[in-house]
Structures are given as structure tokens and as C-alpha cells.
């Protein structure tokens, strides 16, 4: 018998098997990923059982870098945009920025399942019982990204967001004690310092993508006027 040392993913999977005993995993060599599949039972906060979703989770190598993709294979959730699911059952758990940051900041399989996946499905059941979603939603597509910049980064306008993104991309050195870019008159360290760190953490690729969208948005607004 040959014993292979378990990989980090395999160790993390074993660690969640107490909480998600009906999920199993396999390796997909062709697509360089781990595939988790099986049943996800949802119970409420008092422990009462509600429903069972068939799920498929793709975890691309190397782990834990990429945000996993999750699909509902059962069809309990209506397949419309309003339910935050694609026609193929891919679930949109959160704004990608949040997910990316979470993984950068050390989120692993256990946290992903417990903080993102389970609440998403519990929330769908909450809505299916005619109560609507329990919490908030992001707007769809780029409006959701703008909402993220506004609510989570305190950059309420595309102009401000663009200004901050550019300052990061241009690698401007920002003095903590100088006046904040936002024009509030306060020192950066007492204003948007944490936001600048977050934007840096999001990485160039995400920022460039968002920048293009913000600029197009302004152009389209200008066109409409």
C-alpha cells in the first residue's frame, strides 16, 4: 500500500466532514481542480430541518487561492436573475470583491462553507417561504459593484471611485498625514486609509476591470444627458 500525504485541500475537507457529512470530493486532473459534490442539508437556528440541496463546488488549483464556483444541481431555487442564480445553476454568493478579499485574508474551505455557502442556501429557503431575503442584496452587474464601492468602501460616486483606483494604479505614494483624496479635509489616516489598503489588496487586475466599467458608466451617463 502506498500512502500519499494528504494535500492541504484534503486536510481542510476532512476537517469539515463533521459539519457537511454528505459531501464528497474528487480530483479533476483535466481542469486542474477539486470537485466537491453531494447533499447540503439546511437546518434553521433552532436545529429544525428545512431542505436538502444537491450542490457541486469547483475548487481550482492551487488551493486556497481562487474563489470556488458553486452550482445548485437540484432545482429548488427558481432559475431567474432575481434569485441570484444562473440558468445553469451557478450561485452568486457575494460580490466577487468580498470573496476575493476573504480568500486573500485567509478564508479556507470551512469558512467559505459556513460564512458564504450555508447562509446563501438558508436565505433562499427564507425567501421561498414567502418572507423575502433575510438581509440585503447587491444590485446586479455593475450597479452591484458601484454599490460595493459606496457601501463598503465609502466611495459614493463614480468620480471618487475612479480617483481612488487611479491613485493606486499610478502607485502614488500617499502620506498618511496629508489631506485625504476624497476632499473631506481630514487627514488620510483619519479618513480613507483603510480603503486604500483594501483597494491595494484587491489587486491590479480587479481595479483595472472596475476602472474600465466606471469610465464607461460615466460616458454612458454623459451620453444620456
Amino acid at each position: 500500500m502506498i500512502f500519499k500525504k494528504p494535500t492541504l485541500f484534503e486536510k481542510d475537507f476532512a476537517a469539515i466532514s463533521d459539519l457537511y457529512p454528505k459531501l464528497r470530493y474528487s480530483r479533476d486532473e483535466k481542469h486542474k481542480s477539486w470537485v466537491i459534490s453531494g447533499e447540503l442539508d439546511i437546518c434553521d437556528a433552532t436545529g429544525l430541518y428545512w431542505d436538502t440541496f444537491q450542490v457541486l463546488i469547483i475548487v481550482r488549483h492551487p488551493y486556497p487561492v481562487h474563489v470556488p464556483n458553486i452550482f445548485e444541481r437540484s432545482t429548488i431555487i427558481p432559475r431567474t436573475e432575481a434569485w441570484h442564480i444562473s440558468e445553469y445553476g451557478e450561485c452568486c454568493l457575494d460580490i466577487p470583491h468580498n470573496l476575493k478579499l476573504a480568500f486573500k485574508r485567509g478564508m479556507r474551505l470551512a469558512g467559505f462553507m459556513h460564512e458564504k455557502v450555508y447562509p446563501y442556501f438558508a436565505n433562499q429557503l427564507h425567501r421561498l417561504s414567502r418572507q423575502g431575503y433575510a438581509g440585503e442584496e447587491y444590485d446586479h452587474r455593475f450597479e452591484g459593484v458601484m454599490q460595493y464601492y459606496k457601501e463598503e468602501l465609502n466611495l459614493p460616486t463614480p468620480i471618487l471611485a475612479t480617483q481612488f483606483i487611479k491613485s493606486i494604479l499610478d502607485k502614488k505614494i500617499i502620506d498618511r498625514n496629508s489631506a485625504c483624496l476624497c476632499g473631506s479635509g481630514r487627514k488620510t489616516k483619519k479618513c480613507h486609509l483603510a480603503v486604500l489598503h483594501t483597494l491595494t489588496e484587491l489587486g491590479e487586475k480587479v481595479l483595472r476591470h472596475d476602472l474600465v466599467n466606471f469610465e464607461q458608466w460615466e460616458v454612458s451617463l454623459a451620453g444620456n444627458n
Binding site: 434553521d44 441570484h84 457575494d94 418572507q131 433575510a134
Partner: protein, 334 residues
């Protein structure tokens, strides 16, 4: 999972009434009081009907208990009684031992102990009946049961025996323990031994004389089940190698006992070195097994819950989903 709630109620009530009725019982006399309690017990826990909480469980499992069976006689072999005939037929034998401190006797009136005993036994009997087991003998809080018979495959018998043993271990380890812990009584636990004898290993025949007789099994594997029970840890289940062999899909739940004890001599429960016969005993991870069952869900905190058959709207309130659901803020961009 509150499937035993209705069996715990009488225990709680009896304990609560215990101190207060002492004066009353002195006046009324022990006998009167015992009768009152027995009647109340039978009303609270009928012998031949599942209480609602366990009924829900049977419903979720999809099985119905057979209340026609009599203690001590496996119906498939009852015809051997008062005959000299014997039969060879496979059987799964199980010994369930419920250990609790003798504290209980010093602490409560005999009538209270009687109620506690009966509630624990009825929970066991009813659960065994759901899984098609046959209670051969009651021993204190524990029991000796058979699983299988002429109309059941070996694989089904093994599977059902393991289901029963797991659910009952859960009952004692969680529900019962909690009731006693509230009383400051800490030690209560099960130890279970299970083994399978094939047709050629088991002889069914009469034992005893006349009225003091029963139809029972003569089998190494019935004896081994009893021996393995003694080798189980608190709340543990030890099974014989035949069980493992018949449970092809459950291999991940078995580990040889010697891996737990660290002593190679514990690997086999029985050996005939001359014949090269060695019989391995295994620990059975019943909680892991239970979590994989179709009728069990694991909740957000990792506790096991019953997957009831009704729509959740019947028994649950979606407000209770909210504390978990509120953490979700979904997006859409496909």
C-alpha cells in the same frame, strides 16, 4: 434531534415529584404509590404505541414497528419450543448495556427509579421494534436483541442492527445524559456489542426445561457479541468481523480495536491458533454513520437533526432561518 422527548418527560416528572411526595407516600404506603405510578406511566408511555416524537422518527426512517412480538421469542423460530428440533439460520446478536451510577438508587425513591427504568427500557424496545429487532431479554436498563430472520437478507439485518445501535447510543449519550446531568448525576453511558453468525455458525433450539425454557441461539457469535460489549468504550459500539464483511459500503466507519488500545493482543476477540482461525473486533463510529443516513441532517452547529417528512411550514418558523440567512448578501453577474 428530539425524537425521545416524550420518553424523557415521564423521567423529568418522576424526578421532580420525588422529594415532594415522600410525606405522601409515607401516609399512603409504598404499594399504593407504586400502583399509581405504574398506571400513570402506562398512560404517559403506552407499551404498544410509539410516542409522537418517536413516531416522527419512524416516519422519517420509513419503517413501522411490529408490536405483536413477544419478549423472548423470535417468531421465525418459536415453533421449536417444546420440541427436540433444531434449525441453522443466520442471526445478528446484540448486547446493549446501559451503565449508570448506583447513585440513582440512594437518591430517589424506588418508585422513581422504577419510572426511570421503564422509560429507558421502553425507548429501547420501541426503537428496536422500528428497526425490526427482536428483544430476547431485558437486563436492567439494557437488553439482548436479535436482528434478522427468515424474511430478511443478512445485509438488511446488519444494517438495521447498526442503525438501532447508533440511534440508541445517541439517545443515551445526549438526551438521557442531559436529564441526569441536571440532577448532578454524571455517569450514564451505553456499551454495545454486535456480531453476526452465518447459517453454519448458529443453531436455534430449546434451552432449559419445561416452563423454564426458551428458544435461543447456540453460537460462538452470540457469545462474542456479549464479550465485545465489554470491550467497548463508554458510549461505544464494538462489532465482529462478519458485520464488517457484510457492510461493504460502511468500511470507513470501522477500525480494529487494537488501534484504539495500542495493544496488538486486542486485535482479535477470538482465536484458535491451531486452526488458524482469528476473529477481528472493530470499533464502530456510529455518529459518523448516523450523519450519513438519509433521515438525518447535520445542522449549522454540527448537531444531528431529524429530516422530517412533512413540509417545514408545518413544524418550523422561517424567522428561525433568518439569523443564518441574514449573513448572505447575494449578487448577480452572469
Amino acid at each position: 434531534m428530539n425524537i425521545y422527548e416524550d420518553y424523557l418527560q415521564p423521567i423529568r416528572k418522576a424526578i421532580a415529584a420525588d422529594g415532594q411526595t415522600r410525606t405522601y407516600s409515607e401516609f399512603a404506603g409504598g404499594n399504593v404509590r407504586n400502583k399509581i405510578n405504574l398506571r400513570a406511566l402506562n398512560e404517559a408511555m403506552p407499551e404498544k404505541r410509539l410516542l409522537p416524537s418517536l413516531e416522527q422518527f419512524a416516519d422519517a426512517v420509513g419503517l413501522k414497528p411490529d408490536f405483536t412480538q413477544k419478549l423472548g421469542s423470535h417468531p421465525d423460530f418459536a415453533h421449536l419450543k417444546h420440541t427436540e428440533d433444531t434449525e441453522e439460520h443466520y442471526i445478528v446478536s446484540m448486547f446493549v448495556d446501559v451503565r449508570r451510577s448506583t447513585q440513582l438508587y440512594g437518591r430517589y425513591e424506588p418508585a422513581t427509579v422504577f419510572v426511570i427504568n421503564n422509560a429507558i427500557q421502553r425507548a429501547a424496545i420501541h426503537t428496536a421494534l422500528i428497526f425490526g429487532g427482536y428483544i430476547h431479554r431485558l437486563q436492567g436498563d439494557g437488553l439482548f436483541a436479535y436482528f434478522g430472520g427468515k424474511n430478511m437478507s443478512i445485509k438488511d439485518a446488519v444494517n438495521r442492527a447498526l442503525q438501532f445501535a447508533s440511534v440508541y447510543s445517541y439517545f443515551v449519550k445526549h438526551d438521557l445524559k442531559e436529564v441526569f446531568e441536571q440532577q448532578g448525576i454524571e455517569q450514564i453511558y451505553t456499551r454495545i456489542g454486535v456480531d453476526l453468525g452465518y447459517d453454519e455458525d448458529v443453531v436455534w433450539a430449546m434451552a432449559g426445561i419445561g416452563e423454564i425454557s426458551e428458544v435461543t441461539t447456540f453460537s460462538l457469535h452470540t457469545n462474542l457479541a456479549s464479550k465485545m460489549q465489554a470491550n467497548a468504550v463508554s458510549n461505544g459500539i464494538v462489532i465482529g468481523d462478519h458485520i464488517k464483511k457484510e457492510a461493504a459500503l460502511l468500511q470507513e466507519f470501522f477500525t480494529p480495536v487494537c488501534l484504539r488500545t495500542g495493544k496488538e493482543t486486542d486485535r482479535y476477540i477470538f482465536e484458535i491458533p491451531k486452526k488458524g482461525f482469528r476473529y477481528t473486533q472493530h470499533d464502530f463510529d456510529w455518529l459518523k454513520f448516523l450523519k450519513k443516513q438519509d433521515y438525518i441532517a447535520t445542522d449549522f452547529s454540527g448537531n444531528i437533526q431529524l429530516k422530517r417528512k412533512q413540509a417545514p411550514a408545518v413544524y418550523a418558523n422561517s424567522n428561525n432561518l433568518a439569523p443564518i440567512a441574514v449573513k448572505s448578501k447575494p449578487y448577480y453577474d452572469f
